[in-house]
């Protein structure tokens, strides 16, 4: 690694972006980290230089040129409009912001590397999906609305940039749903609801990525000299029903149509945002293959899907477990049994070494 690297990180006003920028600044391989966002970050930025700039206008090009940036980490593709405003603002920020940023990067000769945090939502969710998406697969039904469409467009621009600037190493990380104590995302706020509605008759497969693993994956991508598109997710999968049982939450199965109607009610009540793409995900689920993440990128997540979920559950107020306690009291009166649970099943992306 060449010394004296200057990294520009977009989207530092959000928790994930801020934490990433802070930890990257402490890395010996990195000289300087510049954080860019429209609004100042709420928390401590550490050694990161904060520049208040909007990536949606050409000012960003000046920042890149003036600060002599050689690596750009784009983290400001957002799923929740939050304080930014409504859906229109979100799309503006995601798509127009990416276009401006990439245009600025294309002009800047000294930029050597681009890392973009994308999402596995790019694969969509439908009944025709293969069980595990690999990086080469296209979504079976191209998403037409919302965040998923934004992500697809952002990825298209990034691919276009990679074609026009072949000398820049472009890494596209498609991250599974990030879960962690502080994560604010549509799925996390859905799982934080006290009573959780589910789609009647469907049990989606979920895959999670712990927030610290997202942090590590991005850092790994910045310091690695391996470009390309990679799925990033924790090992294994859980079913939604299984996750709810582990959380001890009550679930209310609703028919598909009613579930969609509930989404708009919850959105207006600001409880959770059940967007059409999240509803599709909660109906059909999704799994991504992480073989390439291990073999080519050489990244190993510390948390499996189940462990990321367990840590998320630990931050929730405890609930349920009454039936388990009754059964446990009953089982205490019986002689202990040898474990007869079936052997552990295949973990996602790890099936080559088996048998």
């Amino acid at each position: 690694m060449s010394t004296g690297r200057t990294v520009l990180v977009t989207g530092v006003s959000r928790d994930l972006g801020r934490t990433f920028a802070r930890t990257l600044a402490t890395d010996p391989g990195v000289d300087r980290v510049i954080g860019v966002d429209v609004i100042p970050p709420r928390g401590d930025l550490g050694d990161v230089t904060f520049v208040r700039a909007d990536i949606r206008n050409p000012v960003i090009a000046k920042v890149i040129a003036k600060e002599d940036v050689d690596t750009v980490v784009h983290m400001s593709v957002i799923a929740t409009p939050g304080s930014a405003g409504a859906r229109g603002t979100m799309k503006e920020l995601n798509v127009m912001g990416t276009m401006q940023l990439l245009a600025a990067c294309q002009k800047a000769e000294q930029v050597r590397q681009l890392v973009v945090k994308s999402s596995t939502i790019a694969y969509g969710a439908s009944s025709r999906d293969p069980a595990m998406f690999t990086e080469d697969m296209e979504p079976r039904r191209p998403p037409r609305t919302g965040y998923a469409k934004d992500v697809n467009e952002v990825e298209r621009y990034v691919r276009g940039f990679a074609r026009r600037r072949p000398d820049v190493q472009v890494t596209l990380l498609r991250c599974a749903n990030v879960l962690g104590p502080r994560v604010v995302s549509p799925l996390a706020s859905y799982l934080r609801m006290p009573v959780i509605p589910t789609v009647l008759g469907f049990d989606p497969r979920l895959q999670f990525l712990h927030e610290s693993d997202l942090n590590r994956a991005l850092r790994h991508a910045v310091l690695s000299d391996q470009g390309g598109t990679f799925n990033v997710a924790g090992d294994g999968l859980v079913m939604l029903s299984q996750a709810l049982r582990r959380m001890g939450r009550t679930s209310v199965p609703l028919p598909g149509i009613a579930f969609g109607g509930l989404g708009s009610v919850l959105k207006s009540a600001r409880v959770a945002d059940l967007s059409p793409e999240l509803i599709a995900f909660l109906t059909y689920g999704r799994g991504v293959d992480t073989t390439r993440m291990r073999t080519e990128l050489g990244f190993e997540p510390q948390y499996s899907t189940a462990e990321a979920l367990a840590e998320f559950i630990a931050t929730l107020p405890p609930a349920g477990g009454r039936a388990d306690r009754v059964l446990g009291a009953l089982a205490d009166h019986l002689p202990p049994v040898d474990e007869d649970r079936p052997a552990q099943l295949t973990l996602a992306g790890d099936h080559h070494g088996r048998r």
């Binding site: 009944s127 859980v238 049982r245 009754v326 019986l334 649970r341």
Partner: protein, 402 residues
């Protein structure tokens, strides 16, 4: 009790209603012998020693707490078993008073215990304690979500303990499935089982899964049409049972992972064909299963199923309604929808499953899967094998139901 035979006028000839002045015959039958007068104090609950004496035969002295822990005070159970005199009398008396409010309250704990033990022994056999403990552990794992699913959503525990247990009686008792050539199924490694498809609903798939599991202990991983995964409940159950979408990616992924994969290449053309076309194989798709097997180099095991055609003889179809709902066909059988839900009971035909000699695919060159002519040839070979086996099985079969 001769007077019990006299049914008083006004009871509409139904015994057991009483006349208002005297208890009903059923009540009299329950009362202790020696008198039917109302002055008799309420019968004391049966002392606990009788059921306990029976319970004493239990090999172990470590006995489970009563089944209703919340409204029954827990008593040191060993003392109950050792000596009936240890039963606290105050408790029994208190329960007697509550009798009018709660009919169950009068039953002493000893009875509960004995009944519970008896039920446990009935269900789990003599070794009921470890069995029950294991069952409870299973129940707790399910309740707390402490189990694993694989990347296709396959839940091995619930499949072996629940789905298989539910389907096995149907396979053994109703269809009396006879399996031949089970030794042709490889014991380890990936293999592709290719079968004919029939029977209006994919019952043959379920029966094949159970038969293969019982014969070899391996789980058949079926590939299903996307309609299966679009339907609520059905799709979720299919994934839990080990199925995944019939597409090249999943088929190859499963075969590379060393799974035993099942395909029914006829698809809806096969199960939805009219009864008059029974045992005539339909077109075998586009041969996608063969190219998947060629690419992964796994053997193809042809399977011929005889008997599934007769479970729901399809004599008609409502194509317009089917198009409206978005399903491939709406079946009309001699009993459905004529008899309503009763028409859903499959006819108890006798089934024969014959696994043929495995067709090896690892001898072809690396690019064999890209050679359409070769793929068609292998597809035809598989299809012919199944068709010929079907004919010979039909010749051997004495009748549809025997």
């Amino acid at each position: 009790m001769a007077d019990a035979d006299i049914i008083p006028i006004g009871t509409r000839g139904q015994p057991g209603r009483g006349t208002g002045t005297r208890p009903s015959s059923a009540a009299r039958g329950l009362a202790p012998k020696g008198g039917t007068t109302k002055k008799t104090p309420p019968a004391k609950p049966a002392p606990a020693n009788k059921p306990v004496a029976e319970a004493d035969t239990s090999s172990s002295d470590d006995v489970l707490a009563p089944t209703r822990p919340d409204d029954q005070p827990v008593i040191a159970t060993s003392s109950l078993l050792d000596d009936a005199a240890d039963v606290p009398t105050g408790l029994t008396a208190a329960r007697t008073d509550e009798r009018s409010t709660n009919p169950l309250a009068g039953i002493p704990i000893g009875d509960w215990l004995a009944a519970f033990q008896h039920a446990s022994r009935e269900m789990f056999g003599d070794q009921w304690e470890p069995h029950l403990a294991r069952f409870l552990a299973f129940l707790r794992r399910r309740l707390t979500g402490d189990y694993t699913v694989d990347e296709y959503g396959f839940d091995e525990e619930v499949t072996t303990r629940f789905f298989m247990a539910a389907l096995r009686p149907i396979a053994d008792k109703w269809f009396r499935i006879e399996v031949r050539g089970a030794e042709n199924i490889p014991a380890t490694g990936g293999a592709l089982v290719v079968s004919n498809h029939s029977g209006t609903i994919p019952m043959d798939g379920l029966m094949t899964i159970v038969s293969i599991h019982d014969q070899t202990g391996r789980h058949l991983r079926p590939l299903g049409a996307d309609l299966v995964f679009r339907l609520p409940v059905v799709g979720a159950l299919a994934r839990k049972g080990g199925a995944t979408l019939a597409c090249t990616e999943d088929a190859e992924r499963m075969l590379r992972g060393g799974e035993l994969v099942g395909v029914w290449p006829e698809g809806f053309k096969g199960i939805g064909k009219p009864f008059s076309d029974r045992y005539k194989l339909q077109r075998f798709g586009r041969g996608g299963f063969v190219s998947a097997a060629l690419r992964t180099g796994v053997p193809i095991v042809p399977l011929s199923v005889v008997g599934a055609e007769e479970i729901y003889p399809l004599v008609g179809n409502i194509p317009s309604l089917a198009r409206l709902i978005g399903v491939p066909y709406i079946p009309i059988t001699p009993f459905f929808p004529l008899l309503g839900p009763l028409g859903l009971v499959p006819l108890p035909s006798k089934w024969l499953l014959e696994f043929g000699e495995p067709i090896r695919t690892d001898e072809y060159d690396a690019g064999a899967a890209e050679d359409p002519m070769l793929v068609f040839n292998v597809t035809d070979q598989v299809r012919e094998t199944i068709q010929q086996t079907l004919y010979s099985l039909l010749m051997q079969r004495q009748s549809v139901f025997k």
